[in-house]
C-alpha cells in the first residue's frame, strides 16, 4: 500500500487519482450512506471545500484507490464551522491555524471484509497522524458518528468533544478534536502493528511500494 499526499497544483498522475477519489466518495457517502445533500448527477462528490486549500490523503494498493481522507484548514471556510457549526459549542483547543479539519474518511467497501480492523483503515489512521505532525498541527477536528470516538480511543488517541453529541438524521453524531503528538503516533502504530513511516519526506513521487506490515 502506498500513501499519496495530493494537493494543488495536481500532477497528471494525481489528477486521475483525485478523479477516482471523487467518484468513490460519491458511491460511498451518497449511494451507500445516503448523504443526499451531496448527490450530483455526474456521480462525483465534489463540494465547496474541495478547493485549492484541501489536501487529500489517498491510499492505493496495486495502483488501485482503496481509501482516502480530506484535510482542510480551520482558518479558511470549512465544514466544521459552517455545515456542522450547530454541533460546536466549545472553543477550539488552540488557534485555528494550528489545527485542521479531517473529513470524508473512507475505505473502499470491498476492503471492509473480515472480522478485523482493515489494513487500509489502519494505514489511513497512521498516515493522518503522521501528516498532522509533519505539518506542525497540534489538533485535528472531525464530525462523525459517535463510533469514531471508540475507534480513535482504541488506537490510543485522546479525543475531546467540542459539543454535546446530537442526533443528526437519526445517527448519534459528535464534533470533537484529536490531540496531535508523537505519543499519539506511537500509540496508533502500536495498536495497528504499523512499523514504518507512510508519508515520504520529500515531495511525493511514485516510488516502489514497501510492504506495510513487518509480519
Amino acid at each position: 500500500m502506498q500513501v499519496h499526499i495530493v494537493r494543488g497544483p495536481v500532477s497528471d498522475r494525481h489528477a486521475a487519482l483525485l478523479e477516482d477519489n471523487y467518484r468513490l466518495r460519491h458511491r460511498i457517502f451518497v449511494e451507500q450512506q445516503g448523504w443526499q445533500a451531496l448527490r450530483r448527477s455526474d456521480g462525483r462528490d465534489v463540494d465547496a471545500f474541495d478547493n485549492a486549500d484541501a489536501t487529500h490523503i489517498l491510499l492505493t494498493k496495486s495502483d488501485q484507490l482503496v481509501g482516502g481522507s480530506r484535510v482542510t484548514p480551520l482558518d479558511r471556510p470549512n465544514l466544521l464551522q459552517t455545515v456542522f457549526s450547530g454541533l460546536v459549542q466549545d472553543d477550539l483547543p488552540a488557534d485555528p491555524s494550528l489545527g485542521a479539519d479531517w473529513t470524508r474518511f473512507y475505505v473502499r467497501p470491498d476492503r471492509r471484509e473480515g472480522r478485523r480492523r482493515t489494513p487500509e483503515s489502519a494505514a489511513l489512521f497512521c498516515a493522518m497522524m503522521e501528516y498532522a505532525l509533519n505539518e506542525g498541527f497540534t489538533f485535528i477536528t472531525f464530525v462523525s458518528s459517535l463510533s469514531m470516538v471508540e475507534h480513535g480511543n482504541a488506537v490510543g488517541w485522546r479525543i475531546t468533544p467540542l459539543g454535546e453529541p446530537a442526533l443528526v438524521d437519526g445517527k448519534a453524531t459528535v464534533a470533537a478534536w484529536i490531540e496531535v503528538s508523537e505519543h499519539a503516533l506511537d500509540n496508533v502504530r502500536r495498536a495497528t502493528g504499523m512499523r514504518r513511516a507512510l508519508i515520504p519526506a520529500s515531495p511525493p513521487t511514485r516510488g516502489p511500494s514497501i510492504p506495510l506490515y513487518a509480519h
Binding site: S147, V149, E150, P165, K171
Partner: protein, 238 residues
C-alpha cells in the same frame, strides 16, 4: 458541554488498567441511576464469549451462569445489537416469548438476578465486529440528551479498554527476561561487556548473548537501539 461530563471523559482516557476504568464507569453511571455493567465483544455463533469480555461489573454468580451456559447466543439483548446503532432499552429487544423459550429463559433468569431493566449500547467496531456496553438500571426517566451522553461515555470506555488490551499483548510479546533487563540496564549506564561481566559475575560471552537475545526479541538493530526501545517500552527503569 457540561463540565462534569468533560472531566469524566478526560479521566477515562487517562486510565491505565481495567480496574481504573471500572471505577470511573461505576461512579459515572451511578449519577444516571445505573449500578452494574458489562463491556464485551460479541462472538460469532457457538464461540465462547469469555475471551471477548473486556470488563465485567456483573454479579459473579450471574456472570458465571451467563458465560458457562452460552447465554450470549440466546440473549435477545445481545442479538439486537446487530440490528441497531443506537442504544436501546433491554425491554425493547424483540423476541418471541412463546416461540423462543430459550430467549425467554435468559430474560426471566436475568430478572430473577435483579436485572430486569437496563440500557444496552451497541458498539460497531472496524471490520464489522460488534461490541456491547450494557448498563443495569431504570431507563424510563432518561432524557434523549442523557441517553446520548451515556452512549458517548460507553464508547469512550470500550475504546480505552480495547487500546489497553492491545498494548498489553504488545508488551507481552516484547517481554525480555529479568537477566536481559539487568544487562541492558548496565549497558544503558555506559558499561562495556567486560565491565558488566565483572559486576554480574557472568562471562563476557554470556553478557553479549543476553544483549543479542534482547535485540532479537525487541526487533532492534544494535545495542543502542535495543537500550532505547527497552527504555521506551518501560522494560528497564533507570
Amino acid at each position: 458541554m457540561n463540565a462534569d461530563l468533560m472531566n469524566r471523559i478526560e479521566l477515562l482516557q487517562r486510565q491505565e488498567d481495567a480496574d481504573g476504568i471500572h471505577k470511573v464507569v461505576s461512579d459515572t453511571i451511578g449519577h444516571y441511576g445505573f449500578e452494574r455493567f458489562i463491556i464485551s465483544g460479541l462472538p460469532d455463533r457457538g464461540v465462547d464469549v469469555r475471551p471477548f469480555v473486556l470488563l465485567s461489573g456483573w454479579d459473579d454468580e450471574w456472570y458465571k451462569r451467563y458465560t458457562n451456559l452460552g447465554y450470549v447466543h440466546l440473549d435477545p439483548v445481545a442479538r439486537n445489537c446487530f440490528a441497531t446503532t443506537l442504544p436501546f432499552d433491554w425491554s425493547d429487544a424483540p423476541y418471541d416469548r412463546e416461540g423462543d423459550p430459550q430467549a425467554r429463559r435468559v430474560m426471566d433468569e436475568a430478572h430473577d438476578f435483579g436485572m430486569n431493566e437496563g440500557l444496552c449500547v451497541p458498539v460497531h467496531l472496524e471490520g464489522g465486529m460488534q461490541g456491547v456496553v450494557s448498563l443495569v438500571g431504570r431507563t424510563d426517566w432518561l432524557s434523549e440528551q442523557q441517553r446520548l451522553e451515556l452512549h458517548m461515555l460507553a464508547l469512550y470506555a470500550h475504546g480505552r479498554l480495547r487500546f489497553l488490551n492491545t498494548v498489553q499483548t504488545d508488551r507481552r510479546r516484547r517481554a525480555i527476561s529479568p537477566r536481559e533487563a539487568e544487562v541492558l540496564k548496565w549497558v544503558a549506564s555506559g558499561k562495556t561487556a567486560a565491565d558488566i561481566a565483572e559486576i554480574t559475575g557472568l562471562s563476557a560471552r554470556t553478557v553479549n548473548q543476553h544483549c543479542e537475545n534482547a535485540q532479537r526479541r525487541l526487533g532492534t538493530n544494535n545495542r543502542l537501539h535495543t537500550v532505547v526501545e527497552a527504555i521506551r517500552h518501560k522494560l528497564i527503569a533507570l
